[in-house]
């Protein structure tokens, strides 16, 4: 039947073109032009891959900067990206936030509730958010200083050096990448 021939013909024809040729060609070209990005923006330390630049990592040690709460299991699991999906009137949402606020207050000397940005206690959309706001980084300095003995001023300088400004001055807002910050801290601790 003519229609069936057309149905199958057009399906297969387009499949070869956009189902096979397109992704394979794009992969090939990308591997040549942008090999670093195309292979996952690998961040290396002493030759070993310690991070994928855009993917957040879980830090709960006092001596490192903490990222945002992650709803994945375990936290910051790139194989199971997910938000919490908690609705705005869900008791659990408020419990989680309050618990997180309490944790920050307990672990950080001198921290007051009204210094904590909401993003620092609210979980991200992917569970892999690598970034925090500058304020979120600054409020953690007393804790890190206490745990590592690094001068607060040094830590503040590290934070300032790692501020990522809006792209082209337009897109996004100033933030810091937690993995980057912690790499800097790691280097200070392990010279």
């Amino acid at each position: 039947m003519k229609v069936l021939r057309a149905v199958i013909g057009v399906s297969v024809g387009l499949w070869v073109l956009v189902g096979l040729a397109y992704p394979l060609a794009m992969t090939g070209i990308s591997q040549v032009i942008f090999p670093y990005q195309a292979n996952g923006s690998q961040v290396k330390l002493n030759g070993k891959v310690v991070a994928s630049a855009h993917v957040g990592q879980y830090f709960d040690q006092s001596q490192y900067f903490w990222g945002r709460p992650s709803a994945t299991s375990p936290p910051y699991n790139p194989e199971a990206s997910s938000p919490s999906n908690l609705g705005p009137t869900n008791k659990l949402l408020i419990q989680h936030i309050k618990a997180r606020v309490a944790l920050l207050l307990k672990t950080t000397p001198g921290l007051k509730v009204n210094q904590i940005p909401a993003s620092m206690v609210e979980s991200s959309g992917s569970g892999l958010d690598p970034d925090i706001t500058v304020q979120s980084a600054l409020i953690q300095i007393p804790r890190i200083a206490k745990a590592t003995g690094i001068q607060s001023a040094t830590l503040r300088r590290i934070v300032t050096q790692h501020i990522v400004r809006p792209q082209l001055g337009i897109f996004g807002r100033s933030h810091v990448n937690v993995v980057d910050l912690n790499l800097a801290v790691f280097k200070l601790l392990h010279p």
């Binding site: 399906s11 794009m26 009137t89 509730v113 909401a118 809006p166």
Partner: protein, 564 residues
């Protein structure tokens, strides 16, 4: 509101405004078979396909043949996709060694991707092999938006007094002339910004604190490009475009936002070009544009003001960042969310379930209307359906048989348009009612209180509108939802497309009435206002009760600091 937010929005909207004319005109040239610059590289490929299937580039079909070809082709894809997903374990490009996809999920995924809904009841990074991602799902993300675009183009041809055209030709050209070239450009931008494009296995990372992370890779950038250019919305990973692997920077967020809107907006302009009524094209762009801005405002201001219950804790900032990414902020998230809903893409850069109830009304609004530009072609079809209903409703008030584009709107068109209008609420309301009334349906609810009802409504609305985004909490992987939503997406997709094709054919057969002072003009600000009003009122009347029970009730409860 920061200057960055304003500039980001201005860039996105500015790009739409700058590109709609050249892209819309190009589209009309392609589909009226006039020469374009891409003829030289692409014509041989297309001609090869046409020769194989034995159709002539400029041949035409009847509405019945066109619909039948469309349905048969889509059916073939669904069957093919189902088989390939079931055979995943035996197929190549599977470095993570994922096994066969289970039957229900394979059915749900095949129907959902074939209908351009791209609702996902699975997490891509832990379910699908590279082959399934690019050769099955990414392929469908090319050809299914091309299907909707083809139907839209066929309808436009009839409005311009041309024959309907040939479905197979339109499908091919939509793929080769629009989606493929744009995808290549967008892919390269995305890779440059840091989205992986590789076939090597998942990356193992050992962090400085001794933890191991497995970072998915694959042809993600090429997927992202077509996912958005085709208003598909199926995420490569579970978190979709909130995942830094799919959208690593604020710039990729903006590029994806723009990619979604390019073709739907240009389609509205193409309508003006092909019918020779540019002013009417601009009127419709204006109406959809106003609704787009309303959504943008709804998705920004309440979110920036935050959840009063959380604000009571007394934090440093008030913006609702639950489920949002730091690099996008409230402003970048708002424009992405507005676009993904307006253009019925359904990808997400944030957790829609965690938006404030009042903001979420923008999500529902977009999906109820399904024409705030909408998916390319299909959104325009829906807009024109509302135009026909509005013209008829109010057109009588000028003392003439209502006309649209010079064609009298009579019983046949009114009936077809009304039926097309009816199907959408039928699917949403009946589906929601069924889910609430059955334990199987209620089992999928994640959040307590009215928000749980909102999740169900969102699920069925998203399916009926072929949007594909979700209030992620809903247990969409339950058999009840896999089957019910699978059925809803199929009816929601094809019923209105086919009704509109038949309206087009019926209009084509009518003699055009010349315009006079007695003709109600549809290309005026007045008509634009009336159209907007009737769209809003007709939909509000249909959906106000369920909105009252879901987001409106929850909003008032939230303002009263009520928790569930």
């Amino acid at each position: 509101m920061s200057i960055q937010t304003i500039l980001t929005w201005a860039v996105v909207i500015g790009v739409f405004l700058v590109t709609l004319k050249p892209l819309g005109t190009y589209m009309v040239r392609v589909f009226t078979f006039q020469p374009t610059i891409l003829d030289r590289p692409l014509k041989p490929i297309e001609n090869f396909i046409f020769r194989v299937i034995g159709v002539d580039r400029e041949s035409s079909m009847s509405a019945k043949e066109y619909s039948l070809s469309l349905i048969l082709t889509n059916f073939a894809w669904a069957v093919g996709a189902y088989i390939l997903l079931r055979l995943q374990g035996q197929l190549p490009f599977n470095p993570q060694h994922f096994g066969a996809v289970n039957p229900q999920l394979a059915f749900n995924t095949a129907t959902s991707f074939t209908t351009n809904t791209n609702w996902q009841a699975y997490a891509g990074e832990s379910t699908m092999s590279y082959f399934s991602q690019f050769a099955v799902l990414s392929y469908l993300q090319f050809v299914t938006p091309a299907t909707g675009g083809a139907a839209g183009i066929a309808f436009l041809r009839t409005l311009s007094g041309r024959k309907l055209g040939n479905f197979f030709v339109d499908l091919t050209l939509m793929t080769t002339r629009l989606l493929l070239p744009l995808s290549i450009i967008v892919t390269l931008i995305l890779v440059a910004q840091g989205i992986p494009e590789a076939l090597s296995p998942y990356l193992h990372v050992h962090s400085i604190v001794g933890q191991t992370q497995v970072v998915p890779r694959g042809p993600i950038a090429s997927w992202e490009a077509i996912e958005h250019l085709g208003q598909n919305g199926g995420g490569y990973t579970n978190a979709n475009s909130a995942n830094p692997l799919e959208s690593p920077t604020a710039l990729t967020n903006v590029v994806l936002t723009i990619a979604m809107g390019l073709l739907p907006v240009a389609f509205f302009y193409a309508f003006g070009v092909i019918t020779g009524r540019r002013r009417l094209g601009w009127t419709l762009i204006g109406v959809a544009g106003v609704l787009y801005l309303v959504m943008l405002a709804l998705l920004y201001f309440p979110e920036a003001a935050g959840n009063p219950i959380i604000n009571a804790i007394g934090l440093h900032t008030h913006a609702n960042m639950v489920g949002k990414e730091t690099r996008f902020g409230i402003g970048g998230t708002a424009i992405f969310s507005t676009s993904t809903m307006a253009f019925t893409t359904g990808s997400v850069a944030s957790a829609h379930d965690s938006f404030l109830p009042i903001s979420s009304i923008a999500f529902y609004m977009a999906m109820f209307l399904n024409m705030v530009f909408g998916g390319k072609g299909v959104g325009l079809l829906n807009m024109l359906m509302f135009v026909i209903i509005t013209v008829f409703l109010i057109g009588l008030m000028v003392g003439r048989t209502p006309e649209f584009l010079g064609k009298k709107i009579e019983a046949k068109e009114v009936s077809l348009a009304s039926v097309a209008f009816l199907i959408h609420p039928l699917l949403i309301l009946a589906g929601t009612a069924l889910a609430v009334a059955t334990p199987a349906g209620m089992a999928g609810v994640f959040n307590p209180g009215p928000h749980g009802l909102s999740e169900i409504i969102y699920g069925f609305t998203s399916a009926a509108a072929n949007n594909g985004s979700a209030f992620g909490g809903l247990g969409a992987a339950l058999p009840f939802y896999e089957v019910a939503l699978g059925i809803v997406v199929v009816i929601g997709r094809y019923a209105s497309i086919i009704a509109m094709l038949f309206i087009g054919q019926s209009l084509l057969q009518k003699k055009a009435v010349p315009e006079s002072a007695g003709t109600m003009h549809t290309d005026t600000v007045l008509f634009g206002g009336v159209l907007l009003g009737s769209i809003v009122i007709l939909n509000a009347l249909t959906f106000f009760p369920i909105m009252a029970l879901g987001p409106i009730a929850e909003q008032y409860l939230m303002m009263a600091h009520h928790l569930f």
